[in-house]
Amino acid sequence: MREHVVALYRSAYRWTGSVDRAEDLVQQLLVRLYPRLAELRELDRLRPWATRVMYRIFVDELRRERASPVQFGAEASVDPEMPAGEGEAWLDPGPGPAELAEQELTQERLVRAWERLGQEHRVVLSLHDIEDYTLPELAQIMDIPLGTLKSRLHRARARLRELLAAERIIAADRV
């Protein structure tokens, strides 16, 4: 388990955007998994299984936060649970691929855009586009139908592009 902890922490950080919350999430995961160590040793691929458990803990926390008057900061400007297609009308499609290629995709801009991305969008982009989980694997981890997952991934990418475009404008204003 030890060898996976840092990788799980990195996932948690990308989801939460906070060292404190990422560490909390991993801590909760370990507490939950520790009694099942013997069972875990039998698993061929521990990481996806652990990621699935961590994702469930994360979603439970998000639900609690949403039900709570105390929020962890302004995130999730797009409702991640919104059905596919809804809400896309107001989404600025953002720069096209050619524009993206022309722009300098600075790390700073990307990090700022990522920070403004909704947490569920971060999860799906993190797991699919960064960690290379396949869609069927991801559907299992997130426990959602494949179609819903595809829509969510599509919206997450669109939203990220939109935020990157906004960052470009902000950066231009700064200059």
Binding site: R2, V6, V26, P35, A101, L110, D129, K150, H154
Partner: protein, 199 residues
């Protein structure tokens, strides 16, 4: 050559790969120094109740009681204090002054044993021996039960369910074994006949 990714985006046209590569290079801060060790240690310290799930039947419930009482304030039952001194060079068991407790025949009561450990003890063996007029509730046919548990640094409270089976003297002994060293605490109990009212 153009290709499509899993959701059908034309990745070459879309140039999403550029963004994807940038995402992969996105920095993530390392966890704080020592986080992994701390997190694993905390996880290991938590699951006494879950560790007990591997224990068979009645012992499982008994061990769960340990978890329930750990860290709780002393209740109304008798508490016996045992200090584990791990640097002790002599291995002879140190027996604390024995508290006394009276039970009425057939009375069931929890006897709390306070175990004060100077440091965390992972995988200590706890053995409970009930003799004489008393028995551990649910363990009438067994002279002792033992199991392994992690003791935290500081106070650990073990609540032992005792039942008075016959009138007379009884003794309850909790033995802690750790890395070949043994310490114990004992509670003497007297079981008395219930008072009968005269008409």
């Amino acid at each position: 050559m153009k290709g499509k990714d899993e959701i059908g985006l034309n990745v070459a046209d879309d140039d999403f790969q550029t963004l994807r590569q940038a995402l992969r290079r996105m920095p993530t801060p390392e966890p704080r120094a020592g986080f992994v060790e701390r997190a694993l240690a905390r996880a290991a310290a938590q699951p006494r109740s879950q560790q007990a799930e591997s224990l068979p039947g009645r012992l499982r419930n008994f061990a769960l009681r340990w978890e329930t009482w750990a860290g709780a304030a002393l209740g109304g039952a008798v508490a016996a204090a045992l200090t584990l001194v791990l640097l002790r060079t002599v291995d002879t068991p140190a027996v604390s002054p024995q508290p006394q407790l009276a039970l009425v025949l057939n009375e069931a009561r929890n006897v709390d044993v306070l175990i004060d450990s100077e440091r965390e003890l992972k995988g200590a063996t706890i053995r409970i021996v009930a003799s004489g007029s008393i028995a551990l509730d649910g363990f009438d046919d067994e002279r002792y039960v033992d199991w392994q548990a992690d003791l935290e640094r500081g106070s650990n409270l073990l609540s032992l369910p005792v039942v008075a089976r016959t009138a007379g003297k009884g003794r309850l002994v909790a033995v802690i074994e750790y890395q070949g060293r043994t310490q114990q605490v004992a509670v003497d109990l007297t079981v008395v006949e219930p008072k009968t009212s005269r008409s």
